[in-house]
Symmetry: C2
Subunit: 643 residues, 2 copies
């Protein structure tokens, strides 16, 4: 047995141990390294992370005085260089962070009920969200054109309720949400990179198709679905039915393929069954073949869903190729040249490098799927995700070892071909148990190799103790030099899974609401019904015995109506409020005392909410946004009479 094989097997035996294994080879000896140094070169303590997690400082030289590093400190009034778009995990939101300051610049509520903005309670959001208040977001990706971000849309998954949502980047608000039919556990998503086209969604959980109760405990009848959503219309175009649990998604740069890791090729429903095979699959979806089948009507339907489904459950079929890869693969990431797909073998200490240019030959039967694999670098215990610096290096997050491992792709390929060449460049300990990692512009052809984020699942002692429920730790690493330099620990609320870091010049939001999002069609329809100019008029209209619609403008420090009379207890009251101020950052809102009603109305925005009038009495409504020196006095009375 070779030294490398020994190490690999040691790794496999021990991957469930919570501390790293000191393997025989240097490759697995990561936990013995102190901080982020070139392998076997830097003495302990010269890096900026310790891995000991005593919370008593980093040891070594502080980042400011390190030679040739980037400066992570953004002084007051200075702007960040990058927008970081973070998934908000189980919070159901998206977050915008500035990078490198790692300051949270915005929460964008998406799948969640949010008290300040009224998201999930306002009329349009309630309608789109179907009254649901839970989301489990993992992956945020922006729309592309020609291999880089076009600054138009952000897409985000909801694993909890099987949905995909979209945020408009001009106003940074959710503008569309779609349910992924026939599926559960919408997990990996990825948009096409050649233009705003399809967004692919992997269902992680296999279920009966249809899942109508006719099949319950018969896992042989469970399947997963790879779904294509139109990134412009947000309509579900087609689905591909496959066996196994799909995890992460990716796309090539040409629009030929989408990818999904399949970590449960065994189709087990219990943990031990899912782990039995030594290799699982990278699925490659042949988009042209799928579209051809859809166009030709060679599809099935599942249950009552109208979406055409391509059946790709046969071991061999023209739609999906199964490339055997390292055990229980998790992440699949495409390098910025578009040449390679890097798959991380969660339950193997290795990654798998797939040469995308060989896939056409494999689909054509000229080579075996496995012949697309050009490298299987040994990376560490629990490799999960890979980022790129645009200089030929890959950075893989290693969960059990708790580090980021930098390795050279071409060297890994040469080593796989039998050359004696070291592909591991160095490692950077992170604190602790890193999940995703991503680097500035890493998912584009413009990867610039400046900043890397390590999204650590455990923070433990890295911050002041805040009780049993602790923050995650999203760490910032300077990757501009040969040696990685940990420069910032960033606590985040439950539990961002992934982020993308986007050059600031690619995003162009407006400060005044442009009134172009879908919800304005709803307001305009009501206004037309009632002969109202939303930006000018205020009027109380009784629409029925128990229905009142109220249009009201606001301009700091006044609501156009300071009294709302004529309401009867039990009335269904709709408030449609428009902010006339066109001053940047001058938001108003509407909050009604003791009615559980609050919403924001941004500059030149309209928002609406419907509620039931409470018991008879006087109820003050007020502007909850500090808008003026007399903001506190900006209020009115809502009179509720007995019915």
């Amino acid at each position: 047995m070779s030294k490398n094989e020994e190490a690999k097997n040691a790794g496999r035996r021990n991957f469930l141990r919570t501390s790293g294994v000191l393997g025989a080879s240097g490759v697995l000896g990561a936990t013995a390294l102190a901080g982020c140094g070139s392998q076997n070169q830097d003495p302990p303590g010269t890096g900026s992370g310790t891995g000991t997690g005593t919370g008593s400082g980093t040891g070594g030289t502080p980042p400011e005085t390190a030679p040739a590093g980037l400066n992570p400190h953004v002084e007051p009034g200075q702007l960040d260089e990058y927008y970081g778009f973070w998934s908000g995990g189980q919070s159901g939101e998206i977050r915008i962070l500035g990078v490198p300051s790692m300051r949270e610049l915005k929460r964008i509520p998406v799948f969640n009920r949010e008290s300040a903005t009224g998201h999930g309670a306002t009329d349009w959001t309630k309608q789109v969200m179907g009254g649901m208040h839970v989301g489990d977001t993992h992956h945020v990706h922006l729309s592309y054109n020609d291999g880089t971000y076009d600054g138009r849309y952000i897409y985000v998954n909801d694993k909890a309720n099987a949905r995909l949502a979209r945020v408009r980047c001009d106003v940074m608000e959710m503008d569309a949400m779609v349910e992924i039919p026939n599926s559960q556990g919408t997990h990996g998503i990825f948009p096409q990179r050649h233009r705003t086209g399809l967004v692919f969604c992997n269902s992680e959980f296999q279920i009966p198709t249809p899942n109508d109760g006719s099949v319950l405990d018969d896992p042989t009848q469970y399947y997963g679905l790879h779904t294509a959503v139109d990134g412009e219309t947000m309509e579900v175009r087609w689905q591909v039915k496959v066996p196994g649990n799909m995890d992460l998604a990716a796309t090539d740069y040409q629009g030929n393929y989408s990818f999904a890791t399949c970590y449960n090729s065994e189709r087990g429903v219990h943990l031990e069954e899912m782990m039995s095979a030594e290799r699982d699959w990278l699925y490659v979806f042949n988009l042209a073949e799928i579209q051809r089948a859809v166009d030709a009507g060679q599809t099935i339907r599942i249950g009552s869903s109208p979406v055409p489904v391509v059946d790709a459950t046969a071991d061999t079929n023209p739609f999906v190729m199964r490339i055997p890869v390292a055990k229980s693969p998790h992440g699949v990431n495409i390098d910025p040249t578009g040449h390679y797909a890097v798959v991380a073998g969660k339950l193997s200490p290795t990654g798998t490098v797939v040469d995308i240019t060989k896939i056409a030959d494999a689909f054509a039967g000229r080579i075996e799927p496995r012949e697309c694999v050009v490298a299987e670098p040994e990376l560490g215990l629990g490799p999960l995700h890979t980022a790129f610096d645009g200089r030929g290096n890959a950075y893989t997050s290693i969960f059990i070892d708790s580090n980021i491992t930098k390795w050279n792709i071409e060297n890994a390929i040469r080593a796989h071909a039998g050359e004696q060449v070291e592909y591991i460049v160095n490692r950077c300990d992170v604190q602790y148990q890193v999940g995703h990692t991503n680097a500035s512009m890493s998912e584009t052809r413009e990867a610039d190799g400046r900043w890397l984020i390590a999204l650590c699942k455990f923070s433990k002692d890295r911050f002041l103790n805040v009780g049993p429920h602790k923050p995650e730790n999203d760490q910032l690493i300077d990757i501009s030099g040969e040696t990685m330099r940990l420069v910032h620990d960033g606590p985040t609320f439950s539990e961002p899974h992934d982020c993308v870091v986007v050059r600031a010049d690619l995003i162009h939001p407006t400060s005044i609401q442009n009134r172009e999002a879908a919800r304005f069609r709803l307001y305009e329809q009501w206004a037309q019904e009632d002969g109202i100019n939303l930006l000018e008029d205020s009027r109380i209209i009784r629409k029925g015995p128990q229905d009142v619609r109220i249009y009201m403008t606001s301009r700091a420090p006044n609501f156009a109506l300071t009294e709302i009379p004529g309401i009867k207890t039990g009335d269904r009251v709709q408030i449609i409020c428009t902010n006339q101020d066109d001053v940047e950052d001058l938001s108003h809102g509407f909050c009604l005392s003791r009615h559980d009603v609050c919403m924001v109305v941004n500059p030149r925005d309209t928002n609406s909410i419907t509620f039931t009038a409470g018991a008879p009495g006087v109820y003050w409504y007020y502007c909850p946004w500090f808008c003026h020196a007399l903001h506190l006095e900006m209020r009115g009375r809502f009179f509720v009479e007995p019915r």
Copy 2:
């Protein structure tokens, strides 16, 4: 007219202008100063803030190289020196920030529905919150002992729905919530400082008493209530009925008085009426007299509320003294010696200093209430709140001028007595429109004069543009030296109003759930009914034709139950989940596909949620917290059969 009077009147004429006024005196010339310099001494650009808001940097010397300043940078792995407890504004939550890093370490959901934790949907929170999902928090204060924080509780108001809530500091979760009867707009709150005693709550809005619809548009019958809640039991002890709108609250250090600013002594219901009087009031509540009346039954009842109410609506009464203070007062803050109450006159350029030691004489009729006023410093346009450094200086936030004005209390008193002495020390421009300000330990006798937070309501161009809805800007200022030094811009989500900054050694949270919070009594009661040991047992119990209760433990990477059979569509299902892991930061959770159900279960915690089983089919539940290398495989099947 003296120069000072000229300046004051100029200020009053112009306070509604959005840019500062360049008054005749230096006192009002703040906007002409560049950055934070000693008045008329530092040349422009030597401070660390510019006030121009171009977003292009601060000019001047960066903080790192400034002489004798504190270092705001907390390196990776280092801990912050202070816990900052932030109100979460309309988000309804509390936030914990580390100071000086200004990193958000935790969100504590309080009045809001929160997707990740399940707050507002789990059984206990739903019961306590009455199904409401909106909160408008303004003020967070911790429980005290002997004039400093005892590290036990955090109290927070909800202005939207008139509530007070409490968070336990051992586990940093909400453990009690109480509705303030007969009132609307619960705004200022403050706990007693001599020991954990009463927490006082001001109702900002005047309403009919009772507010049952029998009185609607008759403002002469509207009143406010000053409410005392027992800080231990969270029961409402008594209320005092007064005219006018009350705003901020404070307490002395001895337990004799509570304070409330009253900005609408006119009792107007429209903006112009509220602004007509040149002076409004500081209310001083005589706690001994109020308690005597309550004990003697000299109280009234309002509506169906059982709470005893002391009627203090008469112009003169033994319960409440009205000290005339600068127009429309906003903040009232007690200096760390306990000697002075500083009231900021929102619509006057002045503050009012009240000597608390004279109040007993005024209550006794030996002096007039107005004789308690010992200084009326001219501070700037729109003074709002005041913090202290423990060295005799006060720092008042000036809304319209957008600065923090540092002034010396004793010098202001000497100037008021006729001495020619300058009391303004210097000013620091902030960006922009500052509301609250607070300093490290400022609300205790241990004020240490190190860090000051300026909670700015507008951020405008200080951060990358994130659309019409922008963050606030909570700025960090080093006040350790003579000159204030702005060192950090901190973006925050809508719209923190206030914060307190607490020395880290005073707070001692646990990392493993101690199972002492009120909600555990509920779980234990169910477990006892069903003969269950929560920490050990897993069982599916049908409680009725449509009711199922499920106890389930979890230990990474497994749920004790991987199948939940026997559920019928429409069943009311309760999941009571206990996390057996006692490993720090090892949270589990329970999320059920397509059921809008998600909750966290922290180490050794129990949590429970009730929902209705959906259409027949197989639904996967999973652990949404990344707990283990095999976390993704931690799941089970929930089988729903037709009824």
